[in-house]
């Protein structure tokens, strides 16, 4: 279980997170929604220690991870996997070198065993025969799949997704949604997904939390959120320009 308590973060004078409180349950898919630029990426970067808060804390089970030193955090990071918005594949490496990278860095497995695991993970994300391609040769959807394979290659307990469907067509988005569900069901991993894709959210979420103006304003199951009467939530879920949220 991950507990985020009164998390605050500003960049220079710009307040991005203004007291985020959120509990993320083990073995479930939590989807954090919110408009672009609301600080969703900033929020998950705190969970994996890429950013440090100005105040507040994040507890992972009984450990206050926001209080860990960089070196101590590294031990913690092996429990995490992360799929970045642009997939963040290393463009100087082949697909199989990318996916196998954490294994090569952190295990004593020989080349053969690494390749076996890489192929198994690639199959799990629906890719075969792409091992020797370079990232530049992949389509957007394939990059995300490779990124997901790399994120789960060490069998992490927690996987973070930054906009897994951004920039994909609706059909590809749906198949990424399927993949998220399949990979999560297989190992009962804790998944944290941030997105502004409502279709995806309804498809995969066990719990939805909405980030607005630096705080989690509402949260609940898909059914609860669909029934939520908060006009800000309604406007966002229905995708309307008119409403309490100002469009600049």
């Amino acid at each position: 279980m991950i507990e985020i308590k009164d998390l605050r973060k500003s960049f220079e004078s710009k307040v991005v997170l203004d007291g985020v409180d959120l509990t993320i349950e083990k073995g479930k898919i939590t989807v954090i929604i919110g408009r672009s630029g609301e600080g969703k990426s900033v929020l998950i970067k705190h969970i994996i220690g890429l950013l440090r808060p100005d105040s507040g804390k994040i507890m992972l089970d009984d450990v206050e991870i926001t209080a860990l030193k960089e070196r101590e955090f590294n031990g913690m990071r092996k429990r995490f996997g992360m799929l970045f918005q642009g997939a963040a594949l290393f463009d100087s490496m082949t697909v199989s070198e990318n996916v196998g990278f954490p294994l090569v860095e952190h295990t004593d497995l020989n080349e053969e065993d690494v390749l076996k695991i890489v192929k198994e993970k690639l199959r799990r994300v629906g890719l075969e025969g792409v091992e020797d391609l370079m990232p530049a040769e992949l389509s957007g959807g394939m990059k995300k799949r490779v990124g997901l394979a790399r994120a789960i290659v060490m069998d992490p307990e927690i996987v973070l997704f930054d906009e897994p469907t951004a920039g994909l067509d609706p059909i590809m988005s749906d198949s990424i949604g399927d993949l998220v569900l399949e990979t999560q069901r297989a190992l009962q991993t804790t998944y944290i997904v941030i997105t502004h894709d409502i279709t995806l959210t309804y498809k995969i979420a066990d719990k939805i939390a909405m980030l607005h103006e630096g705080r989690i304003i509402e949260q609940g199951s898909v059914e609860e959120m669909k029934a939520n009467r908060n006009p800000i939530v309604r406007q966002f879920l229905e995708g309307r320009a008119q409403g309490p949220i100002k469009v600049y």
């Binding site: 970067k45 994996i48 890429l50 918005q85 990278f101 952190h106």
Partner: protein, 258 residues
């Protein structure tokens, strides 16, 4: 008017001091992590190939033509004193002590330094450096150390090559074009040039390699603002690298002359 100008000067000064501090910190970390196991030789060799082998052509070209023009110009000057044969040591000493290391430094900064800044900058803005961190891999150790090591090791090697082709270029112009006796040219070179002169230049080039690689890594590593930011990182790394090479060349020369 004056106030605005002073504010601008203040901002620039602040920027220079901040960068100097950040570069020093990055260098200190790189030095420390160089000796922390596991030491990944593969990445180092890849960077050494990139800095060394791929700069060979441009270094040979600049070295040769510099030697040639040095011969030509010094011949015109020395002829007036009837000391034409001193063209030989003039070329060799200038190459070994100054122009070999400095020109190599400037050329490789333009070529490899800008490429390093671009590569790391791209990795920064496309979140590849963040990805390394999330996979519990230290990006300084993984990305910066091999580049700094490659710079420190390959700059002296390239400088020796530059010295050599410069002397050859000087010989070609002096002997073939200007008619200095070949035996005399070689004898004069050996008479006047000491192995200390070569080491003198190599010590400088070692410092230049350190400067170029560290400055390039710094600008790339902290790039921000998309493709435009990557371009800015490349430009800044070349400008700052070149200026620092010339400034440190003077400082090192004045220190080493005691």
């Amino acid at each position: 008017m004056i106030r605005e100008y002073l504010e601008e000067v203040g901002r620039k000064t602040e920027y220079v001091i901040n960068s100097a501090g950040a570069i020093a910190i990055m260098l200190a970390q790189a030095v420390m992590y160089t000796f922390v196991p596991p030491i990944k030789l593969r990445n180092m060799f890849k960077q050494m190939e990139f800095v060394g082998v791929e700069s060979l052509f441009v270094v040979i070209l600049t070295g040769t033509f510099t030697g040639m023009v040095l011969a030509l110009q010094s011949f015109n000057a020395l002829k007036r004193f009837g000391a034409e044969s001193l063209v030989a040591p003039t070329v060799a000493l200038s190459m070994a002590r100054e122009l070999g290391p400095v020109l190599t430094g400037l050329m490789v900064t333009g070529r490899a330094g800008s490429a390093m800044a671009t590569e790391l900058g791209t990795m920064r803005v496309s979140e590849q450096i963040d990805a390394l961190v999330t996979m519990a891999v230290n990006p300084i150790k993984y990305l910066v150390v091999p580049r700094v090591v490659a710079g420190v090791l390959m700059f002296p090697v390239l400088t020796i090559i530059s010295d050599f082709v410069g002397v050859v270029g000087g010989y070609i112009v002096g002997v073939k074009f200007l008619g200095i006796n070949s035996g005399v040219y070689i004898a004069r070179t050996l008479d006047f040039v000491n192995v200390h002169d070569i080491f003198y230049g190599l010590k400088k080039s070692l410092a230049f390699g350190l400067i170029t690689a560290t400055v390039a890594c710094f600008h790339g590593f902290y790039a921000k603002g998309g493709a435009e930011g990557v371009g800015r990182a490349a430009t800044s790394s070349v400008v700052m690298g070149s200026v620092l090479i010339l400034v440190s060349d003077y400082l090192l020369s004045s220190i080493m002359s005691y």
